[in-house]
Each structure stands twice: as structure tokens, then as C-alpha cells.
Symmetry: C2
Subunit: 97 residues, 2 copies
């Protein structure tokens, strides 16, 4: 297999994973929106640092690499932040209705 053929095949696999990541991130965002709604109904704070820390601990405890734990933490923190922003936008919209 030529080098550029190899590169092409590897890239095709990355493209497939991108689609899977897109779909998982979107499903996760839907779930966190629902969680935001439940929390609004309960009148509890949406930011829950203990829950976030627990999720991060669970994630890095089964991190197979090659990303190191700090990198994986960073990526998931970005996802958590985006989810919280989404919950807060939703809440803002609800207040404006």
C-alpha cells in the first residue's frame, strides 16, 4: 500500500469517528438539556461540581490512552461547559417567555 493510500484510509476512519462523535455529543447535549429541565423544576443549581468531578474521575480511571489524563480531562471539561451553557440558554429563554 502506498503512503498516500495509507493516509487516505486512515483519514476515512477518522471521518467515520467524527460522525460518531458528532452524534454522541449531540445525544449527550439532548440528555443534559433534559437534566436541566428536571433541575429547573426542582429548583436546584445546574452547575454541580461534585457530579463533574465524579464523571472526570470515572473517565480518567478507564482512559486507555494515547491521550494522557490531563488532555482527556480538558476535552471533557469543554463538553461539560458547553452543556452547562446550553442549559443556561434554555433557562434564559424560559424566563423570557
Amino acid at each position: 500500500m502506498s503512503m498516500s493510500e495509507e493516509l487516505k484510509q486512515l483519514r476515512a476512519q477518522v471521518d467515520e469517528i467524527n460522525v460518531e462523535l458528532l452524534n454522541l455529543l449531540s445525544r449527550r447535549a439532548e440528555l443534559t438539556k433534559q437534566i436541566g429541565d428536571v433541575k429547573t423544576a426542582q429548583g436546584v443549581n445546574k452547575f454541580d461540581p461534585v457530579r463533574e468531578r465524579d464523571m472526570l474521575d470515572t473517565i480518567v480511571s478507564s482512559n486507555p490512552g494515547p491521550f494522557d489524563n490531563d488532555t482527556m480531562r480538558h476535552l471533557f471539561k469543554q463538553i461539560f461547559k458547553a452543556s452547562l451553557d446550553l442549559q443556561q440558554q434554555d433557562h434564559q429563554k424560559a424566563l423570557l417567555v
Copy 2:
């Protein structure tokens, strides 16, 4: 179903997705390491802004929401950056051998 039961079930689904994301991100990182090796052998630059832009365009063109396109772009850019850092660490290690 009580509110906290509902919250528990939603969180369990988020936990499952976290594991799937962890595994996909790790598989993706492995692939980009291999891509880095091929590029090193070819003597080409690892940072490829055209490829990154193409991937981002493809991703947002099928973004189902609820994250908006800017958020999705941001999350994927973080993944790309982490992958490039990994390729560069690898290259650095190879130079030190």
C-alpha cells in the same frame, strides 16, 4: 417516576455516553498518531489547515443540534489540537531516540 429517579436515569445515560466518547476519542487519537507517523515518513507538515477546515465543514453540515455550529466547531477544534500535540510529542520522542 419521581424527579430524582428521572435525574438518576438521565445521568446513567450520560455516563454510558461518556464511556463511548472516551473510547472513540482514544481510537481517534490512535489513528491520528498513525497519520503522524505516515506524515513523518513522507516528510510533510502535520498541521494541515485545509484538512481541518474540510472536517469542520463536514461536521457542522450534519450537526443535528442542540449544540450550535460554533459550539461544535469549538469542541472539535479542541480534539484536533490535542491530536496535533500528540503527534508532535511523538515526533519529539522519535528525534530524541
